[in-house]
């Protein structure tokens, strides 16, 4: 019995400490970001560009490929049901709304968490183990400004790029499936055009950017809190992926409720 209380107590204390560390990290990041607004020349553009290249361009094949497969799968699954009513052409509407509003940003963000979130945590974690963060601190360079901000900005900018490619690939996948079901591609694209709006696409991309912010923050935070043990970097990378996906899912849920309430 005492063991249960001890476990619950330890879990609570560790959880509290972890949340406090996260809040401190978030506060420091916000302060440094505001500092960048005042002194933009201090921002490390080259580091951010490199992180963007790794997150966006290197991640393009996987997110486009997954987007394409998502479109194909969704088209097949929904066409089976809609065919019974002879309205398989509405697969185009379903795909457009599903991909642009929800699945495009969500799936791309999960891919980003797996690829770049874990990479951010591993890079910063390894630097911490190698005392590079201490070196920055004693040089008077805040590690958050030097390491975190460039990566977070890269993740925020990478997400819309990856998302739009994944969404377009998904639509191409859906178009191919419907072509096989004798729905002309022109008809498919007309339905997509009629269903979508600039607001819908922009909303999806903005949501993607928000997910990118979460992936960047969670990944970098995990890296900054890496322990100096042998498995510390691995644990940080795992924590970045799990934490990133949980943050994305929770935020998406909140946005879904808000969209329903505000009828967006």
């Amino acid at each position: 019995m005492a063991g249960i209380f001890e476990s619950v107590g330890r879990w609570t204390v560790n959880g509290w400490r972890s949340q406090r560390a996260n809040m401190a990290f978030l506060g420091e990041t916000v302060c440094e970001a505001m500092g960048m607004v005042v002194h933009p020349r201090r921002f490390r553009f080259a580091d951010s560009a490199l992180a963007f290249q790794r997150a966006a361009f290197d991640g393009l094949p996987i997110s486009t490929g997954i987007g394409f497969l998502l479109g194909v799968i969704l088209a097949f699954q929904s066409a089976a049901a809609l065919q019974m009513f002879g309205v398989e052409v509405y697969v185009a509407d379903l795909l457009a709304i599903g991909l642009f509003r929800e699945l495009g940003p969500l799936v791309t963000a999960i891919i980003l968490a797996g690829r770049s979130g874990s990479a951010f945590a591993a890079e910063i974690g390894t630097m911490k183990v190698d005392e590079e963060l201490d070196a920055l601190t004693t040089m008077g360079l805040p590690p958050v400004r030097f390491l975190v901000l460039p990566r977070v900005v890269a993740a925020v900018l990478a997400m819309p790029v990856l998302t739009i490619f994944a969404e377009l690939a998904g639509l191409v996948g859906g178009a191919i499936v419907l072509q096989m079901m004798n729905v002309p591609t022109v008809v498919f694209w007309r339905h997509v055009e009629a269903t979508t709006s600039v607001f819908m696409i922009s909303f999806g991309l903005a949501k993607g950017a928000l997910f990118g912010l979460l992936v960047g923050l969670v990944g970098c935070s995990a890296g900054m809190r890496t322990s100096s043990t042998a498995d510390g970097v691995g644990a940080a990378a795992t924590s970045a992926v799990v934490g990133g996906i949980v943050a994305i899912a929770v935020t998406d849920g909140i946005l879904a409720v808000l969209c329903y309430v505000w009828q967006l």
Binding site: M127, D130, E131, D134, T138, M139, G140, L141
Partner: protein, 249 residues
């Protein structure tokens, strides 16, 4: 070597909840090579981390150039110190030259060409101008430490801290690094605080040393290496230095 640049008065060293050393009191004088000495895990690196402002002292008073570490003094004090970490802590994605350039880019108003010239001069001082465009993983451990010393010296600090400079190096490379420290001390007149337990290095470079003991959780000796070896009556100090002499013969 008349006035102190670092003062520790009744300092308890460690981490929140863990006191490693109690009541540590000593001064480091300007222009001297001061060694933090002791066996593994005795807390000498912890004391250095307090000195360079990475961890606050648990209690007592630690002053560097007359200032205590705080949020207000951090920026000023960071400019007064240069640190070489045990691993070198060079940034792996940057070349040796870029590593040395980094503090110059961030904290000086030198123009591009002037910065490069200054960085190359620093690399030349540590005899590594040829390796300027190599990445840290392309050079040896000893060379990485020398680049780290060049980076530590970049902003012309008052005190240079070296954490275990001999660790992981063969005796010849280690001796060359000691020669470099002596050369820099002579040429620049800077203060060096070195964490080590390598007796040949200590006798070669140290002006004074403070010795810590894990079992007694405190500083047990302070003085010149020869003075401690010949004059101390503490059994731990004698054992430490005699072991070194036997190995040295």
């Amino acid at each position: 070597m008349s006035e102190p640049i670092i003062e520790l008065k009744h300092v308890d060293a460690g981490y929140p909840g863990v006191t490693i050393l109690r009541d540590v009191t000593f001064d480091v004088m300007k222009g001297e090579v001061f060694i933090l000495l002791g066996g593994s895990g005795c807390g000498k690196s912890t004391v250095m981390k307090h000195m360079i402002g990475l961890n606050p002292v648990l209690s007592g008073e630690l002053r560097l150039a007359g200032l205590e570490w705080s949020a207000k003094t951090r920026a000023a004090l960071c400019r007064k110190i240069g640190v070489m970490y045990q691993s070198g802590a060079l940034f792996g994605s940057m070349t040796c030259l870029e590593n040395v350039l980094l503090p110059l880019e961030e904290f000086t108003r030198l123009k591009g060409a002037e910065r490069v010239e200054r960085a190359m001069m620093l690399l030349d001082d540590v005899e590594l101008a040829d390796a300027a465009h190599k990445l840290p993983h392309e050079i040896s451990g000893g060379m990485r430490k020398r680049v780290a010393i060049a980076r530590a010296m970049a902003l012309d600090p008052d005190v240079v801290f070296l954490d275990e400079p001999s660790a992981g190096l063969d005796p010849i490379t280690s001796s060359a690094l000691d020669d470099l420290i002596l050369k820099l001390k002579t040429e620049t007149g800077k203060t060096f605080v070195v964490v080590t337990h390598e007796l040949p290095s200590i006798f070669k470079i140290a002006d004074r040393c403070a010795m810590f003991d894990k079992a007694r959780h405190g500083m047990i000796a302070l003085g010149t290496p020869a003075g401690l070896r010949d004059g101390s009556k503490d059994p731990f100090v004698l054992k430490f230095f005699n072991r070194g002499e036997i190995h040295g013969k």
